[in-house]
Point group: C2
Chain length 208, copies 2
Protein backbone atom coordinates (compact mmCIF):
# COMPACT_ATOMS: atom_id res chain seq x y z
CA UNK A 1 0.00 0.00 0.00
CA UNK A 2 1.33 3.37 -0.96
CA UNK A 3 1.31 5.80 1.93
CA UNK A 4 0.27 9.33 1.20
CA UNK A 5 2.89 11.78 2.45
CA UNK A 6 1.64 13.36 5.62
CA UNK A 7 0.51 16.94 5.19
CA UNK A 8 2.35 19.62 7.06
CA UNK A 9 0.40 21.56 9.63
CA UNK A 10 0.68 24.09 12.42
CA UNK A 11 0.03 23.38 16.01
CA UNK A 12 -2.32 25.83 17.62
CA UNK A 13 -3.61 26.41 21.08
CA UNK A 14 -6.82 24.59 21.86
CA UNK A 15 -8.72 27.83 22.14
CA UNK A 16 -7.58 29.09 18.75
CA UNK A 17 -8.43 25.85 17.06
CA UNK A 18 -11.82 25.68 18.63
CA UNK A 19 -12.56 29.14 17.39
CA UNK A 20 -11.30 28.34 13.89
CA UNK A 21 -13.50 25.28 13.77
CA UNK A 22 -16.49 27.17 15.10
CA UNK A 23 -16.09 29.87 12.48
CA UNK A 24 -15.67 27.28 9.76
CA UNK A 25 -18.90 25.69 10.93
CA UNK A 26 -20.68 29.02 10.66
CA UNK A 27 -19.44 29.46 7.10
CA UNK A 28 -20.59 25.97 6.18
CA UNK A 29 -24.06 26.55 7.57
CA UNK A 30 -24.18 29.91 5.85
CA UNK A 31 -23.38 28.25 2.56
CA UNK A 32 -25.38 25.04 2.81
CA UNK A 33 -27.92 25.53 5.53
CA UNK A 34 -28.56 22.54 7.71
CA UNK A 35 -26.72 20.36 5.22
CA UNK A 36 -23.57 22.26 6.11
CA UNK A 37 -23.61 20.77 9.58
CA UNK A 38 -21.20 17.95 8.85
CA UNK A 39 -17.85 16.94 10.26
CA UNK A 40 -16.37 16.47 6.84
CA UNK A 41 -17.54 19.75 5.38
CA UNK A 42 -16.49 21.75 8.39
CA UNK A 43 -13.10 20.08 8.55
CA UNK A 44 -12.53 20.79 4.86
CA UNK A 45 -13.61 24.40 5.32
CA UNK A 46 -11.17 24.81 8.19
CA UNK A 47 -8.43 23.05 6.23
CA UNK A 48 -7.94 20.26 8.74
CA UNK A 49 -8.86 16.62 8.97
CA UNK A 50 -12.02 15.23 10.49
CA UNK A 51 -10.34 13.69 13.46
CA UNK A 52 -9.44 17.11 14.73
CA UNK A 53 -13.07 17.89 15.38
CA UNK A 54 -13.47 14.75 17.43
CA UNK A 55 -10.29 15.64 19.20
CA UNK A 56 -11.41 19.12 20.24
CA UNK A 57 -15.13 18.65 20.63
CA UNK A 58 -15.80 14.95 21.06
CA UNK A 59 -18.91 15.07 18.96
CA UNK A 60 -20.34 17.34 16.31
CA UNK A 61 -23.19 18.66 18.40
CA UNK A 62 -20.70 20.12 20.79
CA UNK A 63 -19.02 22.00 17.96
CA UNK A 64 -22.32 23.27 16.64
CA UNK A 65 -23.38 24.47 20.06
CA UNK A 66 -20.05 26.23 20.37
CA UNK A 67 -20.56 27.87 16.99
CA UNK A 68 -23.96 29.04 18.17
CA UNK A 69 -22.44 30.62 21.22
CA UNK A 70 -19.81 32.29 19.08
CA UNK A 71 -22.45 33.83 16.90
CA UNK A 72 -24.77 34.74 19.74
CA UNK A 73 -21.96 36.49 21.56
CA UNK A 74 -21.14 38.38 18.40
CA UNK A 75 -24.66 39.69 18.00
CA UNK A 76 -25.00 40.51 21.67
CA UNK A 77 -21.77 42.41 21.76
CA UNK A 78 -22.69 44.31 18.61
CA UNK A 79 -25.89 45.51 20.20
CA UNK A 80 -24.27 46.14 23.56
CA UNK A 81 -21.58 48.26 21.91
CA UNK A 82 -24.15 50.34 20.07
CA UNK A 83 -26.04 50.96 23.29
CA UNK A 84 -22.87 51.86 25.14
CA UNK A 85 -21.91 54.39 22.48
CA UNK A 86 -25.26 56.12 22.52
CA UNK A 87 -26.03 59.26 24.49
CA UNK A 88 -26.72 58.36 28.07
CA UNK A 89 -30.47 58.84 28.02
CA UNK A 90 -32.90 55.94 28.06
CA UNK A 91 -34.47 57.13 24.83
CA UNK A 92 -31.16 57.33 23.01
CA UNK A 93 -30.13 53.93 24.29
CA UNK A 94 -33.38 52.36 23.19
CA UNK A 95 -33.02 53.89 19.79
CA UNK A 96 -29.44 52.71 19.49
CA UNK A 97 -30.58 49.19 20.24
CA UNK A 98 -33.19 49.37 17.51
CA UNK A 99 -30.80 50.78 14.95
CA UNK A 100 -28.12 48.25 15.76
CA UNK A 101 -30.60 45.44 15.30
CA UNK A 102 -31.09 46.47 11.71
CA UNK A 103 -27.52 47.40 10.93
CA UNK A 104 -25.84 45.46 8.12
CA UNK A 105 -23.69 43.51 10.57
CA UNK A 106 -26.69 41.73 12.01
CA UNK A 107 -29.48 42.33 9.56
CA UNK A 108 -27.91 40.29 6.82
CA UNK A 109 -29.52 37.44 5.01
CA UNK A 110 -26.73 34.94 5.22
CA UNK A 111 -26.07 35.69 8.88
CA UNK A 112 -29.72 35.39 9.80
CA UNK A 113 -29.97 32.22 7.73
CA UNK A 114 -27.48 30.60 10.07
CA UNK A 115 -29.46 31.82 13.02
CA UNK A 116 -32.62 30.17 11.70
CA UNK A 117 -30.86 26.87 11.19
CA UNK A 118 -29.73 27.02 14.80
CA UNK A 119 -33.29 27.53 15.98
CA UNK A 120 -34.25 24.37 14.18
CA UNK A 121 -31.65 22.45 16.14
CA UNK A 122 -32.51 23.73 19.60
CA UNK A 123 -35.53 21.53 20.25
CA UNK A 124 -33.62 18.33 19.60
CA UNK A 125 -30.22 19.06 21.05
CA UNK A 126 -29.79 19.57 24.79
CA UNK A 127 -26.52 21.43 24.29
CA UNK A 128 -28.07 23.81 21.82
CA UNK A 129 -31.06 24.26 24.04
CA UNK A 130 -28.91 25.21 27.01
CA UNK A 131 -26.93 27.68 24.92
CA UNK A 132 -30.08 29.20 23.49
CA UNK A 133 -31.66 29.64 26.89
CA UNK A 134 -28.58 31.40 28.18
CA UNK A 135 -28.48 33.73 25.20
CA UNK A 136 -32.18 34.42 25.19
CA UNK A 137 -32.19 35.18 28.89
CA UNK A 138 -29.47 37.75 28.44
CA UNK A 139 -31.17 39.26 25.46
CA UNK A 140 -34.55 39.62 27.13
CA UNK A 141 -33.00 41.07 30.28
CA UNK A 142 -31.23 43.66 28.21
CA UNK A 143 -34.51 44.65 26.58
CA UNK A 144 -36.27 44.71 29.90
CA UNK A 145 -33.78 47.17 31.28
CA UNK A 146 -34.14 49.43 28.26
CA UNK A 147 -37.90 49.43 28.68
CA UNK A 148 -37.92 49.97 32.43
CA UNK A 149 -35.42 52.81 32.22
CA UNK A 150 -37.37 54.49 29.49
CA UNK A 151 -40.62 54.17 31.41
CA UNK A 152 -39.08 55.63 34.51
CA UNK A 153 -37.38 58.48 32.70
CA UNK A 154 -40.44 59.49 30.74
CA UNK A 155 -43.01 58.73 33.37
CA UNK A 156 -45.23 56.21 31.63
CA UNK A 157 -46.36 52.89 33.01
CA UNK A 158 -45.66 49.36 31.75
CA UNK A 159 -47.56 46.67 33.61
CA UNK A 160 -44.98 43.97 33.04
CA UNK A 161 -41.63 45.12 31.67
CA UNK A 162 -40.57 41.49 31.51
CA UNK A 163 -43.42 40.49 29.23
CA UNK A 164 -43.04 43.62 27.16
CA UNK A 165 -39.38 42.77 26.75
CA UNK A 166 -40.27 39.28 25.61
CA UNK A 167 -42.55 40.74 23.00
CA UNK A 168 -39.95 43.26 21.94
CA UNK A 169 -37.35 40.53 21.54
CA UNK A 170 -39.84 38.30 19.75
CA UNK A 171 -40.60 41.13 17.39
CA UNK A 172 -36.95 41.44 16.44
CA UNK A 173 -36.67 37.72 15.90
CA UNK A 174 -39.87 37.72 13.89
CA UNK A 175 -38.79 40.63 11.71
CA UNK A 176 -35.37 39.08 11.18
CA UNK A 177 -36.99 35.83 10.23
CA UNK A 178 -39.55 37.35 7.94
CA UNK A 179 -37.08 39.57 6.18
CA UNK A 180 -34.56 36.79 5.80
CA UNK A 181 -37.13 34.56 4.14
CA UNK A 182 -38.77 37.42 2.19
CA UNK A 183 -36.13 40.11 1.74
CA UNK A 184 -38.26 42.27 -0.54
CA UNK A 185 -41.15 42.60 1.86
CA UNK A 186 -39.61 45.48 3.80
CA UNK A 187 -36.38 47.42 4.20
CA UNK A 188 -34.12 47.84 7.22
CA UNK A 189 -35.42 51.39 7.52
CA UNK A 190 -38.97 50.08 7.63
CA UNK A 191 -37.93 47.73 10.39
CA UNK A 192 -36.44 50.55 12.40
CA UNK A 193 -39.53 52.67 11.92
CA UNK A 194 -41.79 49.82 13.00
CA UNK A 195 -39.82 49.23 16.16
CA UNK A 196 -39.91 52.91 16.96
CA UNK A 197 -43.66 52.79 16.52
CA UNK A 198 -43.81 49.93 18.97
CA UNK A 199 -41.92 52.03 21.51
CA UNK A 200 -44.32 54.87 20.81
CA UNK A 201 -47.13 52.49 21.76
CA UNK A 202 -45.37 51.92 25.07
CA UNK A 203 -45.15 55.66 25.63
CA UNK A 204 -48.83 56.11 24.94
CA UNK A 205 -49.72 53.64 27.64
CA UNK A 206 -50.79 50.70 25.51
CA UNK A 207 -48.96 48.32 27.85
CA UNK A 208 -50.00 49.94 31.13
Amino acid sequence: MIQKPRASYRRETAEDRRRQLGEAALRCIQRNGHAGVSVRQIAAEAGVTQGLITHHFGEVNELVAYAFELMAADIQSGIAAAIAEADDTPAARMDACIEASFSPDIFDQSTLGVWIVFWGLVLHSPKMSAAQQRDNGLYVSRMEKLISDLAEAEGFRVASPRLAAIQFAAMFDGLWLNWCLNPTSFSPEDGIALCRNWVEGLRRGAYA
Copy 2:
Protein backbone atom coordinates in the same frame (compact mmCIF):
# COMPACT_ATOMS: atom_id res chain seq x y z
CA MET B 1 -31.82 -16.05 -2.57
CA ILE B 2 -34.95 -16.35 -0.51
CA GLN B 3 -37.63 -13.98 -1.66
CA LYS B 4 -39.55 -12.19 1.01
CA PRO B 5 -43.29 -12.72 0.55
CA ARG B 6 -44.71 -9.56 -0.90
CA ALA B 7 -46.66 -7.52 1.59
CA SER B 8 -50.32 -7.01 0.92
CA TYR B 9 -51.43 -3.44 0.47
CA ARG B 10 -54.31 -1.22 -0.49
CA ARG B 11 -54.41 0.89 -3.56
CA GLU B 12 -55.35 4.43 -2.84
CA THR B 13 -55.98 7.43 -4.98
CA ALA B 14 -52.93 9.52 -5.64
CA GLU B 15 -54.35 12.37 -3.61
CA ASP B 16 -55.02 10.21 -0.55
CA ARG B 17 -51.57 8.73 -0.66
CA ARG B 18 -49.92 12.08 -1.02
CA ARG B 19 -51.78 13.33 1.99
CA GLN B 20 -50.92 10.24 4.03
CA LEU B 21 -47.28 10.65 3.15
CA GLY B 22 -47.35 14.36 3.91
CA GLU B 23 -48.86 13.74 7.31
CA ALA B 24 -46.36 11.01 8.04
CA ALA B 25 -43.61 13.48 7.17
CA LEU B 26 -45.02 15.98 9.65
CA ARG B 27 -45.06 13.36 12.39
CA CYS B 28 -41.46 12.40 11.63
CA ILE B 29 -40.28 16.00 11.80
CA GLN B 30 -42.26 16.49 14.98
CA ARG B 31 -40.50 13.54 16.52
CA ASN B 32 -36.98 13.96 15.20
CA GLY B 33 -36.68 17.50 13.99
CA HIS B 34 -34.64 17.98 10.87
CA ALA B 35 -33.34 14.43 11.20
CA GLY B 36 -36.89 13.23 10.58
CA VAL B 37 -36.71 14.48 7.01
CA SER B 38 -35.79 11.17 5.42
CA VAL B 39 -37.41 8.95 2.85
CA ARG B 40 -36.93 5.87 4.94
CA GLN B 41 -38.30 7.28 8.14
CA ILE B 42 -41.31 8.80 6.48
CA ALA B 43 -42.07 5.65 4.53
CA ALA B 44 -41.85 3.57 7.69
CA GLU B 45 -44.07 6.03 9.53
CA ALA B 46 -46.67 5.82 6.75
CA GLY B 47 -46.38 2.03 6.62
CA VAL B 48 -45.26 1.86 3.00
CA THR B 49 -42.02 1.25 1.18
CA GLN B 50 -39.57 3.89 0.18
CA GLY B 51 -40.17 3.62 -3.52
CA LEU B 52 -43.68 4.93 -3.04
CA ILE B 53 -42.36 8.32 -2.10
CA THR B 54 -40.28 8.51 -5.23
CA HIS B 55 -43.30 7.39 -7.18
CA HIS B 56 -45.59 10.09 -5.85
CA PHE B 57 -43.19 12.93 -5.31
CA GLY B 58 -40.07 12.24 -7.35
CA GLU B 59 -37.78 13.53 -4.67
CA VAL B 60 -37.96 14.15 -0.96
CA ASN B 61 -37.87 17.92 -1.19
CA GLU B 62 -41.09 17.83 -3.09
CA LEU B 63 -42.73 15.81 -0.33
CA VAL B 64 -41.41 18.12 2.33
CA ALA B 65 -42.69 21.17 0.51
CA TYR B 66 -46.05 19.46 0.20
CA ALA B 67 -46.04 18.72 3.93
CA PHE B 68 -45.29 22.38 4.56
CA GLU B 69 -48.26 23.42 2.48
CA LEU B 70 -50.44 20.94 4.32
CA MET B 71 -49.46 22.41 7.63
CA ALA B 72 -49.62 26.01 6.48
CA ALA B 73 -53.12 25.47 5.11
CA ASP B 74 -54.13 23.92 8.41
CA ILE B 75 -52.96 26.91 10.41
CA GLN B 76 -54.47 29.40 7.98
CA SER B 77 -57.81 27.67 7.97
CA GLY B 78 -57.83 27.47 11.75
CA ILE B 79 -57.34 31.19 12.01
CA ALA B 80 -59.74 31.95 9.18
CA ALA B 81 -62.43 29.84 10.83
CA ALA B 82 -62.01 31.63 14.14
CA ILE B 83 -62.32 34.99 12.41
CA ALA B 84 -65.38 33.86 10.48
CA GLU B 85 -67.09 32.70 13.65
CA ALA B 86 -66.49 35.95 15.48
CA ASP B 87 -69.03 38.74 15.75
CA ASP B 88 -68.97 40.77 12.59
CA THR B 89 -67.16 43.80 13.95
CA PRO B 90 -63.54 44.58 13.12
CA ALA B 91 -62.62 44.58 16.81
CA ALA B 92 -64.14 41.16 17.42
CA ARG B 93 -62.52 39.76 14.31
CA MET B 94 -59.12 41.08 15.31
CA ASP B 95 -59.52 39.61 18.76
CA ALA B 96 -60.60 36.26 17.36
CA CYS B 97 -57.45 36.19 15.24
CA ILE B 98 -55.30 36.84 18.27
CA GLU B 99 -57.02 34.22 20.39
CA ALA B 100 -56.88 31.63 17.64
CA SER B 101 -53.15 32.22 17.26
CA PHE B 102 -52.63 31.13 20.84
CA SER B 103 -55.18 28.34 20.91
CA PRO B 104 -53.84 24.86 21.69
CA ASP B 105 -54.31 23.73 18.09
CA ILE B 106 -51.63 26.10 16.88
CA PHE B 107 -49.78 27.19 19.97
CA ASP B 108 -48.33 23.80 20.64
CA GLN B 109 -44.69 23.01 21.08
CA SER B 110 -44.46 20.01 18.81
CA THR B 111 -46.48 21.71 16.09
CA LEU B 112 -44.40 24.86 16.24
CA GLY B 113 -41.25 22.75 16.32
CA VAL B 114 -42.12 21.46 12.87
CA TRP B 115 -42.75 24.97 11.71
CA ILE B 116 -39.29 26.07 12.82
CA VAL B 117 -37.63 23.22 11.01
CA PHE B 118 -39.44 24.27 7.86
CA TRP B 119 -38.11 27.80 8.19
CA GLY B 120 -34.62 26.39 8.26
CA LEU B 121 -35.23 24.68 4.95
CA VAL B 122 -36.70 27.63 3.08
CA LEU B 123 -33.46 29.43 2.29
CA HIS B 124 -31.94 26.42 0.59
CA SER B 125 -34.89 24.84 -1.17
CA PRO B 126 -36.59 26.65 -4.03
CA LYS B 127 -39.77 24.62 -3.61
CA MET B 128 -39.96 25.42 0.07
CA SER B 129 -39.22 29.03 -0.64
CA ALA B 130 -42.04 29.30 -3.14
CA ALA B 131 -44.47 27.64 -0.76
CA GLN B 132 -43.39 29.89 2.09
CA GLN B 133 -43.81 33.03 0.02
CA ARG B 134 -47.31 32.03 -0.97
CA ASP B 135 -48.26 31.28 2.60
CA ASN B 136 -46.66 34.39 4.04
CA GLY B 137 -48.30 36.59 1.44
CA LEU B 138 -51.72 35.25 2.37
CA TYR B 139 -51.02 35.59 6.04
CA VAL B 140 -49.82 39.17 5.86
CA SER B 141 -52.73 40.16 3.64
CA ARG B 142 -55.15 38.73 6.15
CA MET B 143 -53.53 40.76 8.91
CA GLU B 144 -53.52 43.87 6.77
CA LYS B 145 -57.23 43.63 6.21
CA LEU B 146 -57.89 43.17 9.92
CA ILE B 147 -55.84 46.27 10.66
CA SER B 148 -57.35 48.43 7.93
CA ASP B 149 -60.90 47.48 8.85
CA LEU B 150 -60.27 48.20 12.49
CA ALA B 151 -58.71 51.57 11.71
CA GLU B 152 -61.61 52.55 9.53
CA ALA B 153 -64.25 51.40 11.98
CA GLU B 154 -62.70 53.11 14.95
CA GLY B 155 -61.39 56.14 13.17
CA PHE B 156 -57.68 55.97 13.90
CA ARG B 157 -54.88 56.27 11.42
CA VAL B 158 -52.22 53.77 10.39
CA ALA B 159 -49.59 55.17 8.06
CA SER B 160 -48.84 51.86 6.36
CA PRO B 161 -51.25 49.04 7.11
CA ARG B 162 -49.04 46.75 5.05
CA LEU B 163 -45.98 47.38 7.18
CA ALA B 164 -48.00 47.20 10.37
CA ALA B 165 -49.34 43.85 9.21
CA ILE B 166 -45.84 42.61 8.55
CA GLN B 167 -44.89 43.56 12.07
CA PHE B 168 -48.00 41.98 13.48
CA ALA B 169 -47.30 38.74 11.64
CA ALA B 170 -43.64 38.86 12.63
CA MET B 171 -44.69 39.29 16.23
CA PHE B 172 -46.76 36.14 16.10
CA ASP B 173 -43.92 34.22 14.52
CA GLY B 174 -41.52 35.61 17.06
CA LEU B 175 -43.72 34.77 20.02
CA TRP B 176 -44.37 31.30 18.65
CA LEU B 177 -40.67 30.81 18.19
CA ASN B 178 -39.69 32.15 21.56
CA TRP B 179 -42.30 30.19 23.43
CA CYS B 180 -41.52 27.01 21.57
CA LEU B 181 -37.85 27.27 22.47
CA ASN B 182 -38.52 28.62 26.02
CA PRO B 183 -41.97 27.37 27.02
CA THR B 184 -41.74 28.64 30.56
CA SER B 185 -41.02 32.23 29.63
CA PHE B 186 -44.67 33.16 29.13
CA SER B 187 -48.13 31.63 28.89
CA PRO B 188 -50.63 31.63 26.03
CA GLU B 189 -52.69 34.13 28.01
CA ASP B 190 -49.66 36.39 28.26
CA GLY B 191 -49.25 36.13 24.51
CA ILE B 192 -52.86 37.11 23.94
CA ALA B 193 -52.56 40.04 26.32
CA LEU B 194 -49.39 41.24 24.61
CA CYS B 195 -50.98 41.14 21.19
CA ARG B 196 -53.98 43.04 22.49
CA ASN B 197 -51.60 45.63 23.86
CA TRP B 198 -50.05 45.94 20.45
CA VAL B 199 -53.46 46.60 18.95
CA GLU B 200 -54.04 49.16 21.67
CA GLY B 201 -50.89 50.88 20.47
CA LEU B 202 -52.42 51.05 17.00
CA ARG B 203 -55.57 52.59 18.42
CA ARG B 204 -53.60 55.20 20.27
CA GLY B 205 -51.97 56.35 17.10
CA ALA B 206 -48.49 54.95 17.59
CA TYR B 207 -48.37 53.87 13.95
CA ALA B 208 -49.97 56.97 12.42
